[in-house]
Amino acid sequence: MNTYEWLQTILLFFVLLTLVKPLGDYMARVFQGERTLLSPVLDTCERLIYRISGVNKDEEMGWERYAWALLLFNLVCGVALFAILLLQGVLPLNPQNYPAFSWHLALNTAVSFMTNTNWQNYGGESTASYFTQMFGFAVHNFASAATGIVVAIALIRGFVRRRGSTIGNFWVDLTRSTLYILLPVSLVFAVFLVSQGVIQNLNPYRTVPLVQGTSYDKPRLDDRGNTLKDSKGNPVTENIQVKEVQIPMGPVASQEAIKELGTNGGGFFNANSAHPYENPTPLSNMAEIFLILLISGSLTHTFGLMAGNTRQGWALLAVMLAILVLAMGILYWAESSGNPLVTRLGVQSINMEGKEVRFGLAGSSLFAVSTTGTSCGAVNTMHDSLTPIGGMMPLSLILLSEVIFGGVGTGLYTMLAFVVIAVFVAGLMIGRTPEFLGKKIEVTEMWMSIVTVLTSGILILIFSAVAMLVPSAVASMNNPGAHGLSEVLYAFASMSNNNGSAFAGLNGNTVFYNIAGAVCMFIGRFAPIVASLAMAGNLAEKKYIPPSLGTLPADKAPFALWLTLVILIVGALTFFPALALGPIAEHLQMAS
């Protein structure tokens, strides 16, 4: 990396790590109902919401009630979005007069936004009206992010409470995380992004003449979409002259901030954060990466504070950071080594295919690992164009069950499930019934942690295998072979882990991918959530065991190392064969 790249990378992490403590502290205060900096402004607002909705903020819920409230809320929101998508044609704020989504695309998209996945089998600017973007997608960006955060907070309460039967009030947690955390930060950053050139308007798309016109030959298609051929077998084409282009407009900045902050990742435009209206400058790029990592990183400190052991929070953050930096290093190395096929032509260069020059290699690599380590899924680089080993990094980060910072909340509760498993085995190894934060890890905790950690892996293994057997699914690949296999693997990894980024190169808008994807996203989201809440409820009932010399210290380096290994080994053992047939085979083919 050159000096500029080093500087921006170091600065990013410096700012991020400096803010972990204050923001983590702030979030702990918010969820413990203490007064905060914003209380004078938001307190009235919060009480008003409770009064209107009839929520008693002092009422506590057991885990089952909490889970039902959460599921109900999400389902209602999901159905509302589904309705908006199907009714798009008749709804207002639709200057381009876009028609309704097809039912399976609407289903996939509704589930996608409900589950914080933001997998997009549509192109934003060419399919969705402003109404859909603002009242459908943006609302879900807040709601789904808040849902993730509250589950993490409920799980922390489970660890902290002693002989309790409740884990908090879902409605209160939801209101507070939206009102005190997501809204203020989004507001500030939306304004900042506008300052960088991100647009924010409700204007119709603009048509502008090209300075220099262009033309191309477009193959003619028959009714079935096959290329027409003349008697000699050559494709029939027509020459198209392009003299003007349409430039999409829209309320982008307001959606951009929460897209990163809530690790949603659903772009206003199809090109996502590679689009100049979403991510115009290197500075906006760094700001977006920062937003992606901000809440998930800070929640580790919130956890440490609430659990009464801040070292524990830092230990988790260290594990996340270590793997992120490792992945970033490999990705950067792979991309800077260039494409061997190009090198063989006598051109020595780094692999810039699919990357934006204004972000450079570091800005692109950093964004790629951040967006996949967390379950964000926004992209400023086409992951499909990365070198095989480079592309394996984002893929692997997703396959690790999204714990390298992870989605807002989801990262923390999935990481805690990994901790439970790691503590269990390590606890046995030192001859004690394993315990973490003074709570015994027993059969229920094992089941719930396993469901939390392994659900996505199981979904990926099942659905990628099914996709290979369904001819229409195989036909969706634009690059048959090892690379196409990576595309399918990435698609199901991304959906099952609620990431939402795409390897691209795969036509996902088919009945198979829309339905299979919706199933993956739904189960991949809610099975771990219910399991984590069940674990929270079960843990809350347990008594506290004071630590002694015989207790495994989970906040020190040896355990952190062990946890890192457990995460890597579980991931490697589950996906090594698939990776061997995908990116590894592709890399070896290219290299030989």
């Binding site: 269990f424 390590a426 019934t433 392994l454 090892a482 040896p558 080994i569 698939a578 047939l581 070896l588």
Partner: protein, 688 residues
């Protein structure tokens, strides 16, 4: 010394091996094997390879028959090794149970109508005795069932149960009233009230436990099994996933063959955590068995594992921390008298005293001051009485006395001597504060000095407590002594805390208090008044000499009645958990090497470039897969001794222990199969 019930010396004793082999084949029945779901999956997998082997023979499968046949053979061996491991562990217990059964030839009992020795009895079989029946047992008769002595006292030989050849006294009332069925009365007659119905006696329970018939999985074992089943499921899906992926890859690559069912099944068995799953039942059974070798019977596996978690040990002072008898360690003269003078008077006052304390005074006078005296014939012995609280002798006009300070002062004052040495109070106070008992000695009218009677702390007990502390276990001494004495002994023995002037209800309160704070509490007890506290404690060890209520309240019984056993029990509890954890880590770490052996082999025909993953340079795809399968199988019997003996346990802080075990079983688990598979591959290369 106790004579242990002969344990079979080696895990691979020839007689045992024969029985285990037969048992291991019986255990292949899926109806039995379903209790170990991972191994059941392996058995099904083995069955599948048997089918592919037969298909190879008939030509329906293109793979060479030698390959499918060998894979199938080794997969079956994997299952058999696993059932053999648990059969071996059970076999050792069964051998012991058989020896116990021999001692329980069906005896007859003399059933009484009333608890009187001379009332009429009817003779019935032992199996017809029920709770509440009264039986008469006379000399040289075997006691027909568990019970309490309600009348009489007798010497009982309990070697059948405890292995202890010295007979013990069993008498009605008090803490020595419990008798066990199968033991023999040596002298006198007793009337026993039966306390257990047929089939529920102590001996029955013991036999059941030792045989492993009643062994239930512990919660911790179930939690581990959950993890193993989840991993197995994932690996099943991984293998199922490879098939369509390889079919697709063959299609687009245009060459190669999709991965065959035999190879997928082989990969599945290699990846599944077979090593730990195979040895898991054996570890638990062997743990109970190891305790039994130490003459401790755990009434459930749960109790032993709980012992591993204990963080507070309540230890009775007497017998556990101290030898139990106070001993004279010094003579401290007062009022200007010489030490020699005092020693002589002390010796005279104790010469007729047959208590251990009295004898220790005689010994001290002899060893330190070279004084020996025969009991003078003309001496008049003054026995200790509750009135005077003094003892000694009257000899030629001299009254030699020893006793508590206030008693002696009262005594000399009564004799009319008013002069009490001014330094007496100081000396007495100093000795008492040091945790010892001051005994004041007088000769006639004069107070000569003080005997320092001390509770002797057992040698090496401090180190043991230090070890426990480093493991995070807190020791609490329970004693009936006054707080001053207790504090001094606690300091000397270096226990963490003590409970002085302990009454049974205080013990119960203390246990509840600790449990409320989240501690796991272990205690030992023998008296009936200990029963409530024993029932409350998480790990309750009853002495076999204890009363029936105490034994019923406990979950572990110590046949040697040695209170320090608690420490051994904690150790075995920890060993069981550690062995499980270590083997789990080892088993999973092994998978990395197996991947590097099998993945390139199975995909080589599709992507020849994947050959670079063959880091071990295994000779051929077939040999690579076979080597992994063989390694996976033979590692099981190689680890059986470890499973039976348990991982070596050394007390040390958790973090160091974790690093140590991670290095051995984690890093070792990664490296070992690389070496092992390579070696097997070389051997296969030589054979083929």
């Amino acid at each position: 010394m106790s004579k242990h019930i002969q344990p079979p010396q080696s895990a691979f004793d020839a007689e045992l091996m024969k029985g285990a082999l037969l048992d291991s084949l019986k255990k292949l029945d899926p109806r039995t094997l379903w209790r170990n779901p991972v191994m059941l999956c392996v058995e099904i997998a083995s069955g599948i390879t048997l089918v592919t082997f037969i298909m190879s023979l008939t030509g329906a499968n293109t793979e060479p028959a030698w390959f499918t046949g060998t894979v199938s053979f080794w997969l079956w061996l994997t299952v058999i090794f696993s059932t053999m491991a648990s059969a071996l562990a059970e076999g050792r217990g069964k051998a012991r149970a058989a020896s116990l059964r021999k001692s329980r030839t069906d005896v007859t009992a003399k059933l009484l109508a009333k608890p009187e020795f001379n009332s009429a009895f009817t003779t019935v079989g032992a199996s017809q005795l029920h709770k509440g029946d009264l039986i008469l047992v006379e000399a040289n008769e075997m006691i027909a069932g568990d019970g309490d002595v309600v009348a009489g006292a007798a010497l009982v030989n309990e070697s059948a149960v405890t292995g202890e050849s010295a007979p013990v006294i069993r008498e009605s009332g008090g803490d020595r009233s419990a008798v066990t069925g199968g033991t023999t009365v040596i002298s006198s007659s007793i009337i026993v009230k039966i306390t257990a119905n047929p089939g529920e006696t102590f001996l029955d329970k013991m036999i059941g436990l030792i045989e492993g018939a009643k062994r239930r999985k512990t919660p911790n074992e179930i939690a581990l099994e959950v993890l193993l089943i989840a991993l197995t499921l994932v690996f099943l899906l991984v293998c199922a996933n490879i098939s369509p992926l390889s079919i697709y890859s063959v299609k687009v690559a245009g060459h190669g063959t999709p991965v065959s069912l035999t190879i997928l099944v082989a990969l599945f068995v290699c990846l599944a955590p077979t090593t730990i799953a195979a040895l898991l039942p054996a570890i638990g059974i062997a743990g109970m068995d190891r305790l039994f070798q130490k003459n401790v019977i755990a009434l459930s596996g749960r109790a032993i594992e709980a012992a591993g978690d204990v963080n507070v040990l309540l230890l009775d002072k007497t017998g556990t921390i101290t030898h139990g008898n106070r001993q004279a360690v010094a003579f401290v003269p007062v009022g200007g008298h010489s030490e020699q003078e005092l020693a002589d008077a002390a010796l005279m006052s104790s010469i007729a005293d047959e208590t251990p304390e009295g004898r220790s005074v005689v010994v001290l006078a002899k060893e330190k001051y070279g004084l020996t005296r025969e009991m003078p014939k003309e001496a008049e012995v003054v026995e200790f009485s509750a009135d005077t609280r003094l003892s000694g002798i009257n000899l030629s006009g001299n009254q030699y006395r020893k006793g508590a300070s206030d008693s002696i002062i009262a005594f000399v004052k009564k004799l009319g001597c008013a002069a009490i040495p001014s330094d007496l109070a100081d000396v007495v106070d100093r000795i008492a504060r040091g945790g010892a008992t001051p005994l004041v000695v007088s000769k006639g009218c004069e107070i000569l000095g003080v005997i320092n009677l001390k509770d002797i702390v057992k040698a090496g007990i401090q180190e043991r407590f230090l070890q426990l502390r480093s493991m995070g276990i807190k020791t609490v001494m329970i004693t009936g002594d006054n707080p001053l004495t207790a504090a001094a002994i606690a300091a000397e023995a270096q226990v963490d805390d003590f409970l002085a002037q302990a009454k049974p209800e205080e013990k119960l309160r203390l246990i509840k208090e600790y449990q409320e704070q989240g501690y796991m509490v272990a205690m030992t007890g023998d008296g009936t008044n200990d029963a409530p506290a024993l029932a409350q404690a998480d790990v309750a060890v009853a002495m076999n000499t204890g009363t029936q209520p105490a034994r019923e309240a406990a979950n572990i019984i110590d046949l040697d009645s040695n209170p320090t056993k608690l420490l051994d029990i904690v150790e075995v509890g920890k060993q069981i958990l550690m062995t499980r954890g270590n083997l789990t880590t080892f088993s999973i770490s092994n998978d990395i090497a197996k991947y590097f052996a099998i993945i390139p082999a199975m995909m080589l025909s599709i992507y020849p470039q994947l050959g670079v993953l063959n880091v071990m340079h295994l000779a051929s795809p077939f040999s690579a897969i076979l080597s992994a399968v063989v390694f996976n199988a033979i590692i099981i019997p190689m680890l059986v001794p470890l499973a039976l003996k348990g991982t070596r346990f050394r007390p040390r802080p958790a973090e160091k222990l974790l690093i140590h075990n991670l290095l051995i079983y984690g890093v070792g688990g990664i490296i070992a199969p690389f070496v092992g598979i390579k070696v097997i591959d070389l051997v296969i290369g030589m054979v083929v």
